[in-house]
């Protein structure tokens, strides 16, 4: 029963929690529980009686949860933080990834280290995914703004679409700025000058 450790993941971000859970299960840890909702969390934790607890650093209830562990009302054994407080590189890796890990006292360091490493790598993978998604979304937004700026120029100066884009690009080059910045200020200015055109 070497993988029978009870692992609890407290994360309001359900997608991220599922990604971590999947990683842990793939690695053979079957006893993984996810908590997304903080209501009644004390009772749930007492029921689960976890050996290892992960909490994302964005969770505003970390202080409450930590206090709960320290009072050991919810968890039957005392909880130490991270694998070993002298293991600075593990702590650093976890905090960098955005996760805090709590481990009940008396667990062998080697048993927990792999679990921690797994959670950290999954947290990092999730951040990478979110960043990429954010960038893709940003690009789409940028394209929309540039289209609107082109439309404004076409209307006000009677230009073709190609000419309008050329003007944006030339202005950006002359001012040593990005096309999106020029487009953004043009759209903002047009909105200010002509409130009726805002829609």
């Amino acid at each position: 029963m070497r993988n029978a450790l009870a692992i609890l993941v407290i994360d309001e971000n359900q997608i991220r929690a599922s990604i971590i859970e999947a990683g842990l299960r793939e690695a053979g840890y079957e006893n993984v529980t996810l908590i997304h909702d903080m209501a009644g969390v004390a009772g749930r934790i007492a029921e689960i009686n976890p050996d290892v607890i992960f909490i994302d650093l964005e969770n505003p209830n970390r202080d409450m949860l930590e206090n709960m562990f320290q009072l050991s009302r919810a968890v039957k054994r005392p909880v130490a933080m991270f694998v070993d407080s002298s293991d600075e590189s593990s702590i650093e890796a976890a905090v960098d990834a955005g996760v805090s890990a709590y481990v009940v006292d008396g667990l062998k360091k080697e048993r927990v280290k792999a679990i921690l490493a797994m959670a950290v790598s999954r947290f990092n993978a999730f951040s990478r995914l979110s960043r990429e998604l954010e960038e893709a979304r940003g690009e789409l937004e940028n394209r929309k703004v540039i289209d609107r700026a082109k439309g404004i120029l076409m209307k006000s100066k009677g230009l073709s679409e190609e000419e309008a884009y050329g003007l944006l690009r030339a202005t950006a080059m002359n001012q040593n700025r990005k096309i999106i910045e020029i487009a953004q200020s043009l759209v903002t200015a047009a909105g200010l000058l002509d409130p009726g055109d805002k829609s």
Partner: protein, 411 residues
């Protein structure tokens, strides 16, 4: 800006007393001292502690007892942390639900903010509370916080045992007012603007304030990682000067509106500027419809508000002992004492000729009136600094204080 000699990242929590760090940055005091100051808003004190420990932050806004708790090994992780400066005095209040207020009013609680009268009414309410209703629940932000200790001090001095007669829970400041409205808790002790938040939403009533429980009492400090502070004394000194000048700026009444607008920004407290004004003016709307003028509600600069008194560190330590968080020993007391570093404060500020207290420690609660003190001809006024129950804390008589509080009624 990028060629500033010192680059410092500071963690902050969305609370009114982040003001000193916010102003040090926004009004250019940091820049003037050659500090490129980056402020990072955090969602929990645990994050502040962890990110300071791993070196993401060099310094942080911290609950005044937190660095002591770190150094005593009471926190899950924690690098050795020092407090070379305080970030103001006062600023907290105790708020209860409208329902609890109604019961307290029936027991004779008056409209003012008198801690003794409010406490007596609360004790009477608890005395009549049917067992089936369970204990009243109060929220504080952290076990090692001024909020926890002043709430407990107030309750105990009014004959309410904080562990037996009520339940004290930990909640993040921005969630307090919602928890009160939802009935999850019956009251809380928190910094501003999170009391005003409950008054504005109509869910709460402010019953007393920190400055009435203990006038001119410590609340937040600048926590610095010891290792960083030792290796970068010039950077730390520059930052302390910047914060000192920011504190002076915050204390000028004409600057209040601008300060409220800074704090209202998304990167800081992220709430309306109007919510910041009660704390900055001391005109506290309690929820009764009237506004009460509170002396020294929140001090940023006056009364040596940024001086890290060793006697403050020892008082917090005495409360950790009182509530069973740490056993009392000479070694532990010494750890607490060495956490606060007025020597570094003096070293940074003496060269610029600011008024400094003559000692590093004082008898807390001894000043009945504002008293001029200070060295080197510069003017400085301290006090009044009384506890509402009239007791004194003499840091030289720590053992006697610890022994006496263990046998006090209500404990």
């Amino acid at each position: 800006m990028s060629d500033a000699p010192y680059k410092i990242a500071a963690g902050i929590i969305p609370l009114l007393d982040s003001a000193l760090l916010v102003v040090a940055k926004e009004k250019g005091f940091a820049e003037t001292e050659g500090v490129e100051l980056t402020l990072i808003r955090e969602s929990s004190w645990a994050n502040i502690r962890d990110r300071l420990a791993v070196g993401h932050f060099q310094v942080a806004q911290m609950l005044a007892p937190m660095p002591i708790a770190c150094n005593l090994g009471l926190t899950p992780i924690g690098s050795h942390t020092i407090a070379p400066m305080a970030l103001g005095l006062g600023g907290n209040a105790v708020t209860v639900s409208k329902r609890l207020w109604t019961e307290m009013a029936e027991q004779g609680a008056p409209d003012g903010l008198d801690p003794r009268a409010a406490g007596a009414a609360l004790k009477a309410v608890i005395g009549q509370r049917p067992a089936r209703d369970g204990k009243l629940r109060f929220g504080v932000v952290h076990p090692y916080s001024g909020h926890n200790y002043e709430l407990r001090y107030w309750l105990a001095a009014c004959g309410v045992h904080p562990d037996r007669d009520v339940e004290i829970l930990i909640l993040p400041p921005p969630l307090m007012a919602d928890a009160l409205a939802a009935g999850t808790i019956d009251g809380y002790c928190v910094g501003e603007p999170w009391n005003t938040a409950a008054v504005i939403s109509g869910s709460g009533r402010i019953v007393t304030v920190k400055s009435a429980i203990w006038r001119s009492s410590p609340e937040k400090v600048l926590g610095a990682r010891s290792q960083w502070a030792e290796q970068n004394p010039d950077a730390l000194a520059a930052l302390l000067r910047a914060i000192y000048h920011a504190a002076e700026w915050c204390a000028v009444p004409d600057n209040r509106q601008e300060l409220a607008r800074f704090l209202a920004e998304t990167a800081y407290v992220d709430r309306p500027a109007a919510w910041m004004m009660p704390s900055l003016t001391g005109e506290i709307a309690t929820g009764s419809g009237e506004t009460i003028e509170v002396a020294d509600f929140f001090l940023t600069h006056d009364k040596a508000a940024t001086f890290p008194w060793k006697s403050h560190a020892l008082w917090f330590y005495s409360q950790m002992v009182r509530w069973g968080q740490v056993p009392h020993s000479a070694e532990n007391a010494e750890i607490a004492l060495q956490t606060y570093r007025p020597d570094l404060y003096r070293a940074a500020l003496k060269p610029v000729g600011v008024a400094l207290p003559g000692a590093n420690s004082k008898v807390e609660g001894a000043l009945q009136a504002a008293t001029p003190v200070g060295s080197a001809g510069a003017s400085l006024t301290l006090g009044p600094d009384g506890f509402f129950d009239g007791s004194l804390f003499d840091p030289d008589e720590l053992d006697a204080y610890v022994a006496a509080q263990a046998s006090r009624p209500g404990d």
